[in-house]
Amino acid sequence: MTHLSRNPTGAYAQTPKQRSLWSFLLWPLGVVALIYGISQLVVWISPYDPERTIEKSQLLPPSAQHLFGTDSNGMDIFTRIFAAIENDILLPVAGVITALILGTIAGVYAGFKGKYLDSLASRFTEGLQAIPLFLLGLTIVAALGNGATVLIILIAIVNIPIFFRLSRSTTLPLSNADFVLAARGAGLSDFRIITKHLVPNITVPIVAQFPISCGYGIQVVAGLSFLGIGIPIPSAEWGLMIKDGASILVYGNWWVSFFPGLAILITVIFFHILGRQISRDYQRWIAGRS
């Protein structure tokens, strides 16, 4: 069905309006799933085990056998780069999704209900945000130990305030909107109002924030691992790999740090572009419906 706008400048007045809101959420997740799938495929195909050292193959420069060379432990860097996707992309994504869900629920309730709930939640998240990241990381690792789960928790904690703030600030003006008043007048329960009227109208800024937070999360994982308090050796992880090559960089073994560094760079840029594309997509969709 085409949209027949009453507004003469409804620029996309004839685009079909079938596209549902969910499509905005699903495709970034789909992209991440795809990337993960590819990474697993590469690891599976590769003749090298990402965590097993190979005899007498330390520090070999890039060649036909080792596309990205080997590191000081004799592990193939190419395979490790792809194996690290599990830690470097999936892990932050999991953390950010957790933060998104928890932070958004809290933020929407705080924005809509207001008063004590709002004050309490706001003060709490502000406090959380006040703690410097690495200090927080150290504390949590000290308490809970190393490992993937701990990192997911950390990333979630760091991002919850972001999603809380975002969802709260987008919900606030909406909760005073006429159509929300009309919904209350219709006798809808708070829960229904939130799910039917508030959440759909705030989804897209949230979803646009998601890849940005992921990009940041990747840096957190890599950074902490670089410092030794993230993913433990010998797992494949870009930060670890950079650390590996950092001390030997001066001796001319550039490839050990270079490729993981490049991987991080590309990934962060990719997520940034993803976020921008979602935003743009959404603007056009909204313009077409108004």
Binding site: L4, R6, A11, A13
Partner: protein, 319 residues
């Protein structure tokens, strides 16, 4: 007596870029010096687009198909925004629809006056203040000094609109344009604003154009009116004649609406046709009580009723 033409619009047509649907079609308009002109029509009749064309503010998505605008000796087409912008600077001033949006919320009223006055007359702050007090007094604003010290959000709708009128007239524009000046105001406040505006127009002998969906506003402020419907001008003539003896059925409908009372509630049933439905024939025929066979075939051309009036209808009222 040769009266100078201030503004002339010739065969202006604007359509939607997307599908070529007509938003404004073959508009012809003329305003002479000192004349007070009104354009009346419902939302969607094209009157806002007409104003935007004049001011060079056609939004994205609309394109000018044909026609030109002549003002102060310069001529341009509606999509040449730069030319329009220059001409505007020389002499068109607008009173916008919603004063709250047009006033900068960060500055006090006196600062906003100063911004405008100093640019045109190079006045000092003190001079601007005096001049603005004088302007506000002319508009029957009590305690103008207090008002000047306020911020826009501290003003009521009526006061804000009077401030806008003062700002618009401060620089002595060649043409003053008011876009739905009293929409959103209470009836009592509207009354005051219209009185005050009419008085000012008479005093300054200003060339004036007002757009409204409300014939009452047009009746109070103008001497000559254009009636628009679905993008076309369907009737034009001296305001008083139009009100007493409307020729187009739509004008008749609008005049009737002014006289709603308990026993008889007057309205025009139906709605403006959608953009996509503006095709052949008279666009009013679906709501017209006087439509005849010819109305389906082609949109009627303007025919003169007198030297000052013309109407586009096959079955005029009173025919």
């Amino acid at each position: 007596m040769n009266v100078k033409t201030v503004l002339e619009v010739r065969d202006l047509s604007v359509s939607r870029e997307l599908d070529g649907a007509g938003v404004l079609m073959d508009a012809n308009l003329k305003i002479t010096a000192g004349q007070r002109v009104g354009i009346v029509g419902e939302s969607g009749s094209g009157k806002t687009t007409l104003i935007n064309s004049l001011l060079g503010q056609l939004p994205e998505g609309l394109v000018c198909e044909s026609g030109e605008i002549a003002f102060l000796g310069g001529t341009w087409t509606a999509d040449k925004r730069s030319a329009a912008g220059e001409a505007m600077g020389k002499g068109i001033s607008t009173i916008p629809q919603n004063p709250m949006i047009s006033l900068n919320p960060l500055f006090r009223i006196e600062a906003q006056f100063h911004q405008v006055l100093s640019r045109h007359f190079s006045t000092s702050r003190e001079e601007s203040r005096e001049k603005s007090i004088h302007l506000l007094e002319e508009l029957a604003m009590s305690e103008p000094a207090t008002v000047l010290r306020r911020y826009p959000h501290e003003l009521s709708g009526g006061m804000a609109q009077r401030v806008m009128i003062a700002l618009a007239t401060a620089c002595d524009p060649v043409l003053l344009v008011a876009d739905e000046p009293t929409t959103g105001l209470d009836v009592t406040v509207e009354n005051q604003v219209l009185s005050v505006l009419r008085k000012k127009l008479d005093e300054d002998n200003r060339t004036f154009m007002v757009i409204s969906h409300d014939l009452e506003v047009i009746a109070r402020l103008t001497e000559y009116t254009y009636v628009m419907y679905a993008g076309r001008i369907v009737e034009q003539g001296p305001t008083s004649e139009l009100l007493e003896k409307p020729a187009h059925p739509y004008t008749q409908g609008l005049v009737d609406c002014l006289q709603t009372s308990r026993g008889s509630i007057k309205f025009i049933p139906g709605n403006l046709p959608d953009f996509g439905e503006r095709r052949l024939g008279c666009l009013y025929r679906n709501r017209c009580t006087r439509s005849i066979a010819e109305c389906v075939v082609q949109h009627p051309a303007h025919s003169a009723i007198s030297s000052t009036r013309s109407v586009a209808c096959y079955n005029k009222v009173g025919a």
